[in-house]
């Protein structure tokens, strides 16, 4: 379907002894909204900076539209970036900031001005065109930075945690604006963030990075429902991970026996594991059912309630499994009110075997 715009071919980036990015292979398609997510120091920003030419790969190749970009200096690329700090020029007003990239490309003053004003209008800040950037609010500055990057009509836009300095309400509004903008323009957005909600809300595909490696690439839904490994399962949040040994396996399902009991689970796309192999599975906190009495079904865990966290319509219960490990459950507040769990010391958790996903050990 879509053509590859950017290819990372065995890209390695080292800073002295420190390896920031290790043997990275992946492709970004034309018109795709891709989020690179991971904890701080995972190499996500370094990856973005390599795309902008601000860092040169130590090994491997980065190709854009088939052309090797390794040696191309930043000012000869058309890979505008929106900085976390926004990096607006304080000595220029909003319009002059937007004009900067056009001026560098030798566009005449009248065209420059017209295009800059068009973009400021499009991002609904036309009335602030002649204002100093220091007098603008966070959201307005954000829009100036976006206009400045988009005014040259690039094929790709790089965003380095651009929303991290904004308050929660504004983040939601900027997210919908970014998504709309990307659909309308049809260009590729590469969005680096540590925020799962930002990445999942906007991106077509998410790249999860951990210590310089790609941990998983997939749609937000894939990553959320079928984490490929323990790191992703833990990073993505409310997941429970249970370990054991493979007791039996078919092409589709695995039976895992561990200290908490015997569980049946879905194998998904993964190859069939050997009998006796150490394994783990993930069960998301919002895919389990609670009851006060022991249900007659597979995959049951007997727990006791430790604490609960109320965040509006959803409640997270922190339970303790018989071996002392924590088990998280998310339920609707209204469901919980019907259940009357306060007066029981035992809570039974059960889940359908197709909800649990086998992941590799380690």
């Amino acid at each position: 379907m879509a053509n590859a715009l950017v290819e990372f071919d065995s890209v390695v980036k080292r800073f002295g002894d420190f390896t920031a990015v290790e043997t990275m292979n992946f492709t970004i398609d034309e018109g795709e909204f891709i989020a690179i997510m991971g904890p701080s120091g995972c190499g996500k920003t370094t990856t973005l900076r390599m795309l902008a030419g601000l860092e040169e790969p130590s090994e491997g190749q980065i190709r854009m539209q088939g052309q090797v970009m390794n040696q191309v200096p930043p000012h000869e690329r058309d890979t505008p970036m929106v900085w976390q700090s926004l990096a607006l020029f304080p000595f220029l007003n909003a319009r002059e900031n937007v004009e900067f990239g056009l001026q560098m490309r030798g566009v005449d003053a009248a065209t420059r001005r017209r295009k800059a004003l068009e973009w400021l209008d499009r991002l609904e800040i036309g009335e602030f065109a002649e204002r100093d950037v220091s007098s603008l609010s966070g959201g307005q500055k954000q829009r100036v930075a976006l206009a400045r990057s988009l005014v040259t009509e690039p094929k790709i836009l790089l965003l380095d945690e651009p929303l991290s300095a904004l308050d929660a309400n504004l983040v939601i509004r900027m997210q919908s604006m970014l998504t709309r903008l990307q659909r309308e323009l049809g260009i590729t957005f590469v969005y680096v963030t540590h925020s799962q909600s930002e990445a999942f809300a906007m991106a077509d595909r998410v790249v999860i990075m951990s210590r310089g490696h790609i941990a998983q690439v997939g749609t937000p839904k894939d990553i959320y429902r079928a984490p490929a490994n323990r790191f992703v399962a833990e990073f993505v949040g409310r997941n429970n991970i249970i370990s054991g040994h493979v007791k039996s396996a078919t092409a589709k399902t695995v039976t895992l026996e561990g200290s908490l009991g015997t569980f049946k689970l879905n194998l998904g796309e993964r190859p069939k594991p050997a009998i006796g192999e150490a394994g783990q599975f993930v069960i998301a906190a919002d895919l389990v059912h609670l009851s006060a009495s022991r249900p007659k079904s597979e995959n049951v865990l007997e727990c006791s309630l430790i604490s609960e966290e109320f965040i509006g319509s959803v409640v997270t219960l922190f339970l303790e499994a018989p071996d002392g490990s924590e088990f998280k459950v998310q339920v609707q507040e209204r469901e919980l009110a019907d259940m009357d769990l306060k007066h029981t010391d035992k809570i039974f958790v059960r889940w359908a075997s197709e909800r649990a996903h086998y992941i590799c050990a380690g």
Partner: protein, 300 residues
């Protein structure tokens, strides 16, 4: 006893808070007093005295208190005064331009191209010249600039020279640079090093070539610090007596030399005061204009 232990600190606390209310204003003014006394005694008072002195008269080689315009009219109407003024202003301006230009590549390298530890060492090395007396450093130029000095000796090997460098305007500029170059490099380095790197990267990212980035982004961002450096350089050069006297040969005299000459010839302290007041006014104007433009909000 526990109760006594508890009451003792609380009592002490009451005392301090009570004491703070009672003595704080006195304490506050006492803290400010030294700087007020210092400024009053060593800056304001001499300044007033100097201005007053420029209206005094000299009779029989003795200065007498008076209020006459004679000193001012005399100095202002003399060509040699205005020649000297133009020379001093010109040399200080030229020296400032040369120093700012020579210092910039060095400061740029220290700010952007070297590691933090190299920059620390470089700043330390740039402070070392100030350990030695300026006069000593000026005299050391004799060895280098003299007609039989180091430079001319080297030039003679390739069949050039000897060139006269001592007792020329060139010598004066060399002296001014000895005084100001290390300081200007330090000030420029700090103002460049404080620039947010992401702004420079943003300029490159938007298609700005490295050379163009210097004048489109780096110079505007470092403007305040660079103007302050230039103002310092001008003030130090304009008021310097040592370089134009020993390396410039004092002919024609700069304003500081004119002050000395005026005092020596016939005890003309009042006329020297006129020169000094003119210099002060010039320096105030330059410093004020410089600082105003350094902190000016962006205009156009």
């Amino acid at each position: 006893m526990p109760s006594a232990d508890r009451s003792a600190p609380s009592l002490a606390k009451d005392q301090t808070s009570g004491g703070r209310v009672a003595h704080w204003p006195v304490f506050k003014y006492a803290m400010r007093l030294p700087i007020v006394i210092w400024q009053g005694l060593f800056f304001i008072a001499p300044l007033i005295f100097m201005v007053a002195m420029s209206f005094f008269v000299v009779r029989n080689y003795r200065m007498t208190e008076d209020f006459v315009m004679k000193n001012w009219l005399k100095m202002m109407s003399r060509d040699y005064f205005w020649d000297s003024y133009a020379l001093t202003f010109g040399l200080a301006t030229l020296s400032t331009i040369v120093v700012m230009t020579v210092a910039f590549p060095a400061a740029y390298t220290l700010a952007f191209r070297v590691s933090d530890s190299t920059r620390r060492w470089a700043v330390f090395l740039l402070i070392i010249p100030f350990f030695t007396s300026y006069l000593v450093r000026i005299f050391s130029w004799y060895v280098i600039l003299a007609e039989s000095g180091v430079i001319n000796a080297m030039l003679s090997y390739i069949g050039l020279g000897p060139y006269v460098m001592l007792n020329t305007k060139f010598g004066t500029i060399v002296g001014y640079m000895t005084l100001t170059l290390p300081l200007v490099i330090i000030l420029q380095t700090f103002s460049l090093a404080n620039i947010d790197r992401s702004l420079i990267e943003a300029a490159h990212n938007l298609g700005c070539k490295p050379w163009r980035t210097i004048y489109r982004v780096i110079l505007p961002l470092a403007r305040t610090g660079l103007i302050i450096a230039a103002v310092f350089c001008f003030i130090l050069s304009f008021g310097d007596f040592v370089s134009p006297y020993y390396l410039g040969g004092s002919k024609p005299p700069t304003l500081p030399i004119l002050i000395i000459d005026t005092v020596k010839s016939g005890q003309q302290w009042p006329r020297a005061a006129v020169v000094a007041v003119v210099m002060m006014v010039t320096l105030f104007a330059v410093a004020f204009a410089g600082i105003a433009s350094a902190y000016r909000r962006r205009g156009s």
